[in-house]
């Protein structure tokens, strides 16, 4: 059943010509008219900041919002390892086509070919752009750019700035945006949280925002709204997301009619520092780049596992022939550099079988001893020094001497607002970019591709495609924020806040959020099954009821109030979690980060069902009391032969 709202607008023709053809057909707005048009950008991570900067350069009037005290704090800043591009600077036979194929395959054939090819195509422009902005990428002694490898690829196409690539790219985009703030085309609103989307005649025309410092509810109008608010991984409470990362802005758009794509596709990153105890607030990632030189293993024999757990021996004392390098054993062609979903599941499989190497039984080793033997400790320090230091600060262990202990953790969400080729949602005038949309990664994102997608959307794609919408708005006056639609939306926001304060229950938002995280991780985490997902839906409902009857929101609304922020975001996380579980339940196949226990091969590999599930699930909100409706956008693969992913040979 094809839905008439779900038209992807992928241009016809050969894959290599689609984007060029589309660009030549996109409507252009004249400079004089751009000056009259206003665009709201919500979020200032890589996608939001780069979009705001580029739209400002084009001459649009941009208002940009973020919840942090400065746009530079957006969580893109924490990305460590790198950014992919098909430059082929290493002469290892990389190409746009190869990056495209790797990404489609890495995403387990659940993304759109047209989008992914475009992403690979603009990847090279991103590197050029960032270098021109002064991003200090790693270089070789000859002065040219250096590369390293990431999971899911057999070439070295990842550009990096030590272990702080996200930071450096974000500072580049932030600086580009600052130059536009100086030029007067962009106005920045830090410490403002989008509370609702305002539609006029069914089109996105503004937002309601809460001033986080004063508590004031404010109205902002525009000709179009761009959402760049990241993913919803914090629904699990413990994740590598920042504490303020949330899904609320996207969720309000969903509730206003934007379809939500593939909510069940969440990425679990294989190399994070294991959970330590109940007082923990977040999980720390150890960059995927470590898998260039680190080898992952657990003991071959249970007796060694027992000794490890009793602290009688350490990992380094277990001899080579008593170790199981399970990734190298199971996936000889890619070894330790298999994609994230595969590495994560393999770690879980070993730990579930009783080979976990710490007292909780939920950790595997990431070992650098053979790389240190081969290259020397200094070389390893030069490559990963800051990561080893971070590991030692957190765990108090020296990873030059003893193997690191790591375990998978929630990291990224491939799902997000459904968008077409122009990155427009099902609401006219509402665009979604970066992690906030569902578009390019299918069931699993490859490492170093999030930075690539955020910047591709923000610098190169959206500023072009938004012309198709805005060209029709050149005669439309500025949005009147006194319109009744703004009154209604503002009233609803104020009522919701008042309702949260009025509960005056006994539990803090954080304590309920942790309980939600436990449910999500247990039933909608690394592996899922029908009974568990049904349980999750019931448990989430119960917890949501408890929240709305027993949460305690301290303080008042007339000023800075972090408890209100937490409660407001948590209220949406119940609903996001519910939709994730529903989507996971309907998708009776294993693909990418979504592993259904009922659907696996005899060897325990994911079993896709292309006959029944080769589609994007796009969910439509049907009101508080009704179940959401599932729409399907069928996926066609014309250029990459559909096959079971094979990282073995």
């Amino acid at each position: 059943m094809e839905d008439n709202k779900l038209i992807s607008h992928i241009p016809d023709g050969p894959i290599t010509k689609k984007w060029t053809k589309h660009k030549s057909e996109v409507k252009v707005v004249s400079p004089g008219n751009k000056r009259k048009l206003e665009v709201i950008v919500v979020g200032t991570g890589l996608a939001g900041a780069s979009a705001a900067a580029s739209l400002g350069e084009l001459g649009y009037n941009v208002k940009v919002f973020c919840i942090s005290d400065s746009p530079r704090r957006a969580h893109s800043i924490a990305a460590q390892g790198g950014i992919n591009a098909a430059k082929n600077y290493q002469n290892d036979n990389d190409s746009i086509y190869r990056l495209f194929v790797d990404t489609v395959k890495g995403g387990d054939f659940r993304s759109r070919e047209g989008n992914v090819f475009r992403l690979a195509e603009v990847s090279n422009n991103i590197i050029d752009q960032c270098v021109a902005q002064g991003v200090p990428f790693a270089r070789e002694y000859g002065g040219l750019l250096a590369n390293r490898s990431f999971g899911g690829a057999q070439v070295s196409r990842t550009f990096y700035a030590r272990g702080q690539t996200g930071q450096q790219l974000l500072l580049g985009a932030y600086a580009a945006m600052n130059s536009q703030i100086a030029a007067g085309t962009v106005k920045s609103y830090p410490r403002h949280e989008m509370m609702d989307l305002v539609l006029i005649n069914g089109e996105a025309k503004g937002i309601i925002a809460r001033n986080i410092v004063t508590g004031k509810i404010e109205r902002f109008g525009a000709h179009a709204v761009v959402l760049a608010t990241g993913g919803y991984g914090h629904v699990y409470f413990l994740s590598t997301n920042a504490m303020n990362s949330n899904g609320s802005a996207a969720w309000q758009c969903y509730k206003k009619g934007a379809y939500f794509g593939n909510p069940c596709f969440a990425q679990i990153h294989p190399t994070c520092i294991p959970v330590r105890g109940h007082q923990q607030s977040k999980l720390t990632l150890m960059s995927e780049s470590l898998r260039n030189d680190g080898r992952i293993w657990v003991p071959k024999f249970k007796e060694d596992v027992d000794k490890l757990r009793r602290h009688e021996i350490t990992g380094s004392q277990i001899p080579e022939d008593r170790r199981d390098y399970y990734l190298e054993r199971r996936y000889p062609a890619f070894g330790n550099l298999v994609p994230r979903d595969i590495a994560s599941r393999a770690a879980k499989e070993r730990c579930d079988a009783g080979f976990g190497v710490n007292t909780t039984g939920k950790a595997v080793f990431l070992d650098f001893s053979s790389a240190i033997q081969r290259l020397g400790e200094d070389k390893i320090r030069e490559r990963y020094g800051n990561l080893f230091q971070m590991y030692e600060e957190i765990t108090s262990f020296n990873a030059y001497k003893e193997p690191m202990m790591i375990y998978p953790a929630i990291h990224y969400t491939m799902g997000g607002l459904w968008v077409d080729y122009d990155l427009q949602t099902t609401i006219p005038g509402l665009y979604a970019i970066g992690e906030a949309n569902f578009s390019d990664h299918g069931g699993n994102r490859l490492g170093a591709s999030a930075l690539m997608q955020g910047l591709a959307d923000g610098y190169f794609i959206l500023p072009c495609t938004i012309g198709n919408y805005l060209a029709h708005k050149i005669q439309e006056p500025k949005t009147d924020t006194n319109a009744p639609e703004f009154d209604t939306a503002e009233k609803a926001v104020k009522e919701r806040i008042a309702k949260l304060f009025a509960i005056k229950g006994k539990r803090s938002p954080d304590s309920i959020h942790k309980a939600l995280g436990d449910i999500m991780w247990e039933y909608v985490g690394m592996s899922r099954n029908e009974a568990g997902l049904k349980t999750a839906i019931e448990e989430i409902k119960k917890l949501k009821d408890e929240f709305w009857s027993n949460v305690y929101v301290a303080g008042t609304n007339d000023g800075f109030n972090q408890e209100l922020e937490k409660a407001n975001r948590l209220a949406d996380f119940f609903e996001i979690g519910d939709l994730m579980a529903r989507d996971a339940l309907q998708r009776r196949e294993s693909c990418g980060g979504h592993f259904r226990e009922e659907m696996q091969t005899e060897e325990g590999e994911a079993k896709r069902d292309d006959k029944n599930f080769m589609f994007v699930s796009a969910w439509e909100y049907k009101g508080e009391e009704s179940k959401p409706e599932l729409h399907k956008e069928p996926l066609n693969f014309e250029f990459v032969p559909v096959a079971t992913r094979n990282y073995k040979d």
Binding site: A53, E57, D69, A132, G134, P136, A176, P190, Q280
Partner: protein
Amino acid sequence: MNFTLKVWRQKDAQSKGHFETYKVEHISHGTSFLEMLDILNEQLINEQADPIAFSKGCKDGETCIADSGPVSFDHDCREGICGACSLYINGRAHGPENEVTTCQLYMRKFKDGSTITVEPWRSAAFPVIKDLVVDRSALDKIMQAGGFISVRTGSVPDANATPIAKEKADESMDAAACIGCGACVATCKNGSAMLFIGARVSSLALLPQGKIESKRRAMSMIAKMDELGFGNCTNTRACEMECPKHVSISHIARLNREFLKGKFSK
């Protein structure tokens, strides 16, 4: 582990602040400083939400109901990179450890049973918003005054068209490691932002792409700093000591050179 906390409480920028004393108990060694504050807040919320249940557990003469509720503090990534967390802990920016942010500070670094004093950044240019949260938007304004290379999206040469010596790129990266937390400003007796500006100006001046606007950048960022009420640099190096990313004051020297070149070429 158990601790006594003396925490700065301030309703808003207009109100007068004061210290309040709290006790936190059963803190694990591996708990981070901010997680310890989460635990304190959970306690304060529970006391406020259910004063009766809590007063039962109170010892005589102790005040159990915290009137000011949970403590506000800025934080986000909790892995030392976003620059949101701040805090003056026992008189030092980001606490007693070197080269870490507050979120990377673990309770095993403190003596069990000790008293810990927690204050916000204190600087004329950073007014307090609430409790431990300050307004650092002045740093954004300095960046907007010139902390960028003027380059339009798309109008750029190939990334490898201009080779850059590895040493230059590495030194540029050392400076670019600044996270904009403001510890340097809070530590400086003059409340100067010179290390913050130096990091940006130097990072860009080391690269051929950034050289072109270097003098103008240095002059306009410094002019903005003066305008916003920051002090100047008297080379005490306190900023460098307390910088969680160990940005060197040699970048201030390069900033001064660019500034002087700008002055004399006028």
